[in-house]
């Protein structure tokens, strides 16, 4: 039994009564039904703050219901879904649609993330105020980087009225070009066009300056480079209200995985080097509470439905990490429960 909110990590019994947890500890004998969970982990529902549900628009890949089923199968009770659907989640009606479909599925909590700009086009601000009222938990043009500094500045200024975070997909599209993997000696050897680390870091560096300027809450999606980790660490030290997340595959795999040309290892941001993995594992520990959060974000740019893969396999990664803490230094289950709740002010689960 692991419950980070109570600092609980021990082998014990859980007594359920009328669908609720009545007691945790040594249960007295005499339960009607006994489930033998020896060797398994019982924990509060995990939270994933970066999920793609593809509905509306690409239901052949994933629906809100199928994504929720995958989440539950992976141990996730709350998920926040990205707005890069067709049409995108860029107004209050679209946010309400997600809540309605999630409630029909009736499997887990779904918290929609609204788009920063209309059509995720990076130009005009979307109606973020009305989306907040409809229940949007954060804002992002995920998949598209907000490349214009002026647009990002306006978005950050505007969002300070609503106590929500702006989530950026940090990628300078000119620098990443037609890249399909990390730009390094492996991409040179394989003859594959690369996406340099600096394409991520330059945008991040600029945004952290803008976040500092505005005092807005800024969240970095899927951090993948050592340079990014350092930038976030420094920004936090300087008092910028920045949080970040990291994907499990960026903690476990390097660009060497691409050497077989298996397209399952093609992703954005790409798998980086061993140094980057080490930096992401260490994390941008700063003085300001909320830290980085692993998310189940797995996405194939060609559009293969890997979301399910991501959510289900994340459980494997996390359980493995919980059991073998040595291989996951400094990272515990609360990364997937407490910290996401703090970052997005949402997520139901174990309370002290």
């Amino acid at each position: 039994m692991i419950d980070p909110s109570r600092g609980l990590d021990e082998v014990c019994d859980v007594l359920l009564a009328e669908g609720k947890i009545a007691r945790v500890g040594r249960a007295a004998a005499g339960a009607d039904t006994v489930l033998d969970a020896r060797g398994l982990i019982v924990a509060p529902g995990l939270i994933d703050i970066h999920v793609h549900l593809r509905e509306p628009g690409d239901e052949q890949e994933e629906t809100i219901a199928s994504g929720c089923a995958a989440a539950v199968a992976g141990g996730f009770a709350s998920i926040a879904c990205m707005p890069n659907t067709h049409p995108p989640l860029d107004d209050a009606t679209a946010i309400e649609f997600v809540f309605r479909q999630a409630s029909r599925a009736g499997l887990c909590n779904v918290f929609p993330i609204g788009a920063i700009t209309k059509g995720r086009a990076g130009k005009e601000l979307a109606e973020m105020g009305q989306m907040v009222r409809a229940g949007a938990v954060a804002f992002s043009d995920d998949g598209n980087c907000v490349t214009s500094a002026a647009t990002m500045l306006r978005a950050l200024q505007y969002i300070t009225m609503f106590d929500r975070a702006i989530i950026q997909h940090c990628e300078d599209p000119d620098l990443s070009g037609r890249g399909v993997m990390h730009s390094g000696h492996v991409s040179v050897r394989l003859g594959l066009p690369g996406m340099p680390a600096i394409a991520e870091e330059l945008v991040l560096q600029r945004d952290l300056r803008l976040a500092r300027e505005t005092g807005a809450r800024y969240h970095v999606a899927h951090v993948s480079t050592a340079g990014s980790v350092n930038l976030i660490r420094r920004a936090k030290h300087d008092g910028v209200r920045a949080t970040s997340e990291v994907c499990p595959h960026h903690l476990l795999l390097t660009d060497e995985a691409c050497a077989t040309y298996d397209p399952n290892f093609k992703m954005n941001p790409p798998l980086r080097t061993a140094d980057d993995v080490k930096a992401c594992l260490d994390g941008p520990v700063g003085p300001h509470g909320v830290d980085d959060v692993p998310v189940g974000h797995v996405r194939n740019p060609r559009g293969r439905p890997l979301e399910l893969h991501g959510l289900v396999h994340e459980r494997v990664v996390v359980c493995d990490a919980v059991e073998r803490r040595i291989e996951f230094p400094g990272r515990r289950l609360d990364d997937l429960h407490i910290k996401p709740r703090l970052a997005f002010r949402r997520g139901r689960g174990s309370r002290r």
Binding site: V188, R189, T260
Partner: protein, 336 residues
């Protein structure tokens, strides 16, 4: 290869007739995907096989029955003159039936996937697939999914193993050795599959390789493959035994990587003036097609040091050897 009883001794090449690559050198690779994978011994085995096939081309009847009854398909998803015709001719000289496939005008234009296209063609009874594709790794992907032999005829910017074999075979023929030679490869290294195959093969056989060109198309990280990197042709030229000039591939360069063609010629073009700095017996190579007057001046391309047409002639023998060995490996598999 199990000796085909039908072969008359006269029509079987020496390598097959003596049937005696020593047992340690028996070819066991069904696919030829890149020179990165091959050992020095395997490279030499291909060269020995190619030498015996060279002789076939000098006969009045330029044909042997080694691949009789086999089907070779040329699957070209990208344009080619030399490679395609050379593979076709090589397969025909081995008496194989050859099927020509071009992406243009095929169902690829109707949205059929690469794998579906190839599986459909394979279902017609194809034994060897010669694949060229603009995506690095495409032949590797197919090799995992099809039953036949896959020969990489160029995959994106990754490898062009038969061109690498041709270049090294030609150097070996004209210089008598590979070990200890210093080879410069000049041009657009970043986008060149020919460069990568040459680097792997030459390094395995003990040559020193220096890649030369502007910093924007000669990535420093390529040194991890075991070569030296230079950005000064005039400095390198007097030191090398072989200079392999790559084509400036305008169609692959999506952003401006050097200010003008004129500036490129001034800094990296091999002119007769610049040739004066080189060793007298330097070998000038080019995998083709040549941009005359850009990377290579016309008089140098046609001059006494040039081995360009020899490379093309050798191409046929190398490709016959590669097809022959791939087919032989299939035979080994079946016997096991």
């Amino acid at each position: 290869m199990s000796q085909a009883p039908a072969s008359t001794p006269d029509s079987t090449p020496a390598a097959a007739r003596s049937a005696a690559p020593p047992s340690t050198a028996i070819w066991r690779r069904r696919h030829l995907l890149g020179l990165e994978d091959l050992s020095a011994g395997e490279l030499l085995h291909i060269f020995q096989t190619a030498e015996s096939f060279k002789e076939v081309s000098t006969r009045s009847i330029k044909k042997v029955p080694a691949l009789r009854g086999k089907v070779v398909v040329n699957l070209f998803f990208e344009d080619s003159t030399r490679t395609r015709n050379s593979f076709t001719l090589a397969a025909q000289r081995l008496s194989a039936d050859v099927l020509e496939f071009s992406a243009a005008g095929s169902s690829v234009n109707k949205g059929e996937t690469l794998l579906d296209t190839v599986r459909n063609i394979e279902a017609m009874g194809v034994d060897i697939l010669v694949v060229r594709h603009s995506a690095a790794g495409a032949p590797h992907h197919l090799a995992r999914c099809v039953k036949g032999c896959v020969i990489n005829a160029g995959d994106g910017q990754h490898e062009h193993p038969t061109q690498g074999l041709i270049d090294i075979f030609t150097i070996r023929e004209l210089k008598g050795r590979i070990e200890g030679l210093h080879v410069a490869i000049v041009g657009d290294i970043a986008h060149s599959r020919v460069a990568r195959s040459n680097i792997w093969g030459l390094r395995k056989l003990g040559a020193r390789v220096t890649v030369v060109g502007p910093t924007t198309i000669v990535p420093a990280r390529i040194a991890a493959m075991g070569c030296d990197v230079s950005h000064d042709l005039d400095d390198i030229l007097p030191k090398v035994d072989v200079i392999n000039m790559l084509r400036i591939q305008k169609e692959r360069i999506t952003s401006q990587v050097f200010p003008s063609t004129e500036e490129y010629i001034r800094l990296f073009g091999l002119t007769s003036e610049r040739m004066k700095r080189a060793k007298k017996d330097v070998l000038v190579m080019h995998p083709g097609p040549v941009n005359r007057g850009i990377e290579l001046a016309a008089d140098v391309a046609d001059g006494p040091n040039s081995s360009i047409l020899r490379q093309v002639t050798n191409g046929l023998a190398i490709r016959m050897a590669v097809l022959f060995l791939a087919n032989q490996a299939t035979g080994v598999d079946e016997a096991v």
